[in-house]
């Protein structure tokens, strides 16, 4: 019974409807991220996400990277629980003053070589929250940033494109 149920679930939702046209482009994009990560790091890419005061919109889209449509783990992109295991810090939010120290500590806890990607309009320059007494405004004012990914929030595809750009263009730190 259980087995049939699981099977029907799989059939019901994974093969129907036919993949959308942009999905193949997506798979290609993600595969490129995988190859670039291996070429640069000799292994997959471990990402530690840090919410530095975001509205949580960016997190929702970062989460979406792990759903069955994007399933980035297939391509060697892994979200890890500790900065000690990370190659990349994905930072969101206008860096609230209440989070600045935690962000610095997370950065310092991440071993070299490491990259920092600022995700979303807020993380670039504070975005709509710029000028507030409670925000530092922009991740680069607290820790060095290697890449900005625009959007409010950036879509999962934007995020993948950004990570690929990071891997292809930043000069090797190792």
């Amino acid at each position: 019974m259980r087995k049939t149920l699981l099977e029907s679930l799989t059939h019901g939702s994974l093969t129907e409807p036919a993949p959308l046209p942009d999905d193949s482009a997506l798979a290609e994009l993600a595969a490129k991220v995988d190859r670039a990560a291996k070429a640069r790091l000799g292994r997959s890419l471990a990402i530690r996400e840090v919410d530095a005061g975001s509205c949580n919109g960016c997190e929702l889209e970062i989460h979406a990277l792990s759903n069955a449509f994007y399933d980035v783990e297939r391509f060697g992109l892994r979200f890890v629980a500790s900065p000690r295991h990370a190659d990349v810090l994905l930072v969101t939010g206008p860096v609230t003053k209440n989070m600045r120290q935690a962000l610095e500590r997370t950065y310092n806890a991440t071993p070299d070589p490491k990259w920092v990607v600022a995700v979303g309009g807020c993380a670039i320059d504070g975005g709509i929250f710029r000028g507030s007494y409670a925000c530092v405004g922009g991740v680069s004012e607290t820790i060095p940033v290697d890449l900005h990914i625009k959007g409010c929030p950036p879509s999962p595809t934007d995020l993948l494109k950004g990570l690929l750009a990071l891997l292809e263009h930043v000069s090797g730190k190792r």
Binding site: S66, A68, F69, F79
Partner: protein
């Protein structure tokens, strides 16, 4: 009998809509607190201004609301929290932002520990409009003493992709004796950024108060502005707003049902609901041009029409959900290892849910029959038919079931709206020059009611705006729900609440 009939007040404020606001003296303020303590009224909101504090209260029976205002001529106000605990964090926030001091008899001494202020802003009382220095002392967690007890500190940076906050567990072996939360890490100063902003900018800020409730916040903000200006938006705009609100509710409930199961190590459910959530977001993108539907609802209506493809996409989405979701419900219901974790775990007592006026699935899983869409019947829900599911076991399982039933209701609501919606205008321009007015609105977000109160000046700029997330009255209940459970069940309890951090830190 109106709420204000039993509360002595000095004068009513005529420009406050749609519910009354009145200025009270200390006697009136204490009478209002009495009504809250007795349980006759529910605290809906409690916020400050440089020289005044306001409380919004609900009479659940008559669905009436009133706001009382106490003018703090000497920089103090009678403490609400020392008599009515649900006001505590709001009261500490008022003190942090405005420097107003709650007073009470010595044996009820108000809790003045900072809440949002982590001593990092470089200034004290940022919304007070005057410079004053504050006594800075290291933050004190509440004590829990005993030989076998130990503490576990978690956060602000957590192991998953979640918002930052600090949790201090005191445990006896595996069992949690006390949990104390300390939030404020995502405090962005939204209410100050709103001051002086035009309606469009302020609406954008409201949209970004809590990303998962972008639609609900934009909806509440727009309705508060429209109440203040005394305008009615076109019928079609109301339908489009509700379409977005229900789509947002679906996306979040799918995400949460899966995430709760995932925290009980049942990843299959997470994968399946993740697909449904993504389909909702893609439908939103097709229909409204943004996956989270930000900046579509604006004061006066909606900023853009739903695309023709969008209507088709919405109908396809409903069909997909209709096909897959019943099987997922069956799977949830028949998986003993999952039920083993969710049944009787993290119980919120019905008394607490009532006292705190807990909204959303937290309240409704513990017997509190309140849903702003029905109790306050705002457009277009006033002529849509739907049910509000209520359970009374108050555990993780009940919160999952409320969400499951709400998914079914949202699907039916979207279908109804698609059938009822007729062509027409979608936006009217806010009238110029009708300033100096105040509005209050409540909108049902996926996790409970969002309250927005605002005052506009003569040029339709925001003079003061307060946004209150449902989480204010849910977070403290999470502290009670975890007591006696094991630490390992915390993620499960926490996920079943899914309280907002950004929405309460502001």
């Amino acid at each position: 009998m109106g709420i204000l009939d039993s509360i002595p007040h000095v004068q009513a404020v005529p420009s406050h809509r749609p519910w009354p606001r009145a200025v009270v003296t200390e006697a009136g303020w204490q009478a209002a607190i009495d009504r809250l303590v007795e349980g006759g009224l529910t605290l809906l909101g409690f916020w400050g201004e440089p020289a005044a504090v306001h409380m919004a209260m609900l009479d659940g029976g008559s669905a009436e609301i009133a706001v009382v205002t106490y003018e703090c001529t000497s920089g103090t106000f009678p403490s609400v929290a020392s008599r009515h605990p649900p006001a505590l964090r709001l009261e500490r926030t008022i003190h942090d932002l405005f420097g107003l001091v709650p007073t009470a008899a010595d044996d009820l001494r108000p809790d003045l520990r900072p809440w949002l202020d982590h001593d990092a802003w470089g200034q004290s009382y940022p919304l007070a409009g005057r410079n004053a220095s504050r006594d800075v002392r290291p933050y004190q967690f509440l004590p829990a003493e005993g030989e076998a007890l130990h503490q576990v500190a978690v956060g602000p940076v957590h192991a998953g992709i979640i918002e930052p906050g600090h949790f201090r567990f005191t445990a006896n072996g595996e069992h949690v004796v006390r949990l104390e939360q300390w939030l404020g890490y995502t405090h962005k100063g939204i209410e100050q950024l709103m001051q002086g902003a035009d309606l469009a900018t302020a609406a954008k800020l409201a949209n970004r108060t809590s990303g998962d409730s972008a639609v609900a916040y934009a909806f509440a903000f727009a309705r508060a502005a429209e109440a203040a200006l005394d305008i009615q938006v076109p019928r079609r705009a109301n339908y489009l707003r509700a379409l977005m609100a229900e789509l947002e509710r679906l996306a979040n409930h799918f995400g949460d049902i899966g995430a709760i199961c995932n925290d009980a190590s049942f990843a299959l459910m997470h994968a399946q609901t993740g697909i449904l959530r993504e389909r909702c977001l893609r439908t939103a993108d097709t229909a409204f041009g943004h996956r989270l539907m930000m900046d579509v609802i604006v004061p006066g209506g909606v900023a853009r029409e739903v695309s023709p493809d969008g209507i088709t996409a919405l109908r396809t989405l409903l069909a997909d959900i209709g096909e897959v979701f019943p099987r997922l419900i069956e799977l949830y219901d028949n998986t003993a290892s999952l039920q083993d974790r969710t049944v009787t775990t993290g119980i919120v007592k019905a008394d607490y849910a009532r006292q705190f006026g807990a909204g959303g699935y937290v309240g409704r899983a513990s017997g509190r029959d309140f849903d702003a869409r029905r109790t306050l019947a705002y457009a277009p829900y006033d002529h849509l038919s739907f049910e509000v599911p209520v359970l009374d076991t108050g555990d993780v399982n009940a919160r999952v079931w409320i969400r499951i039933r709400e998914v079914e209701q949202s699907v039916a609501l979207i279908a109804q709206i698609l059938d009822l919606m007729e062509p027409g205008e979608i936006r009217i321009a806010p009238p110029a020059g009708r300033g100096g007015c105040e509005g209050l609105a409540l909108t049902e977000a996926f996790r409970g009611d969002v309250l927005v109160w605002l005052r506009l000046d003569g040029e339709l700029r925001v003079e003061r705006c307060h946004l209150r997330d449902a989480s204010w009255f849910q977070w403290p209940l999470l502290e009670t729900a975890i007591e006696g459970n094991i630490i390992a069940d915390f993620p499960l309890c926490n996920k079943s609440f899914n309280c907002s951090y950004s929405g309460v830190d502001l």
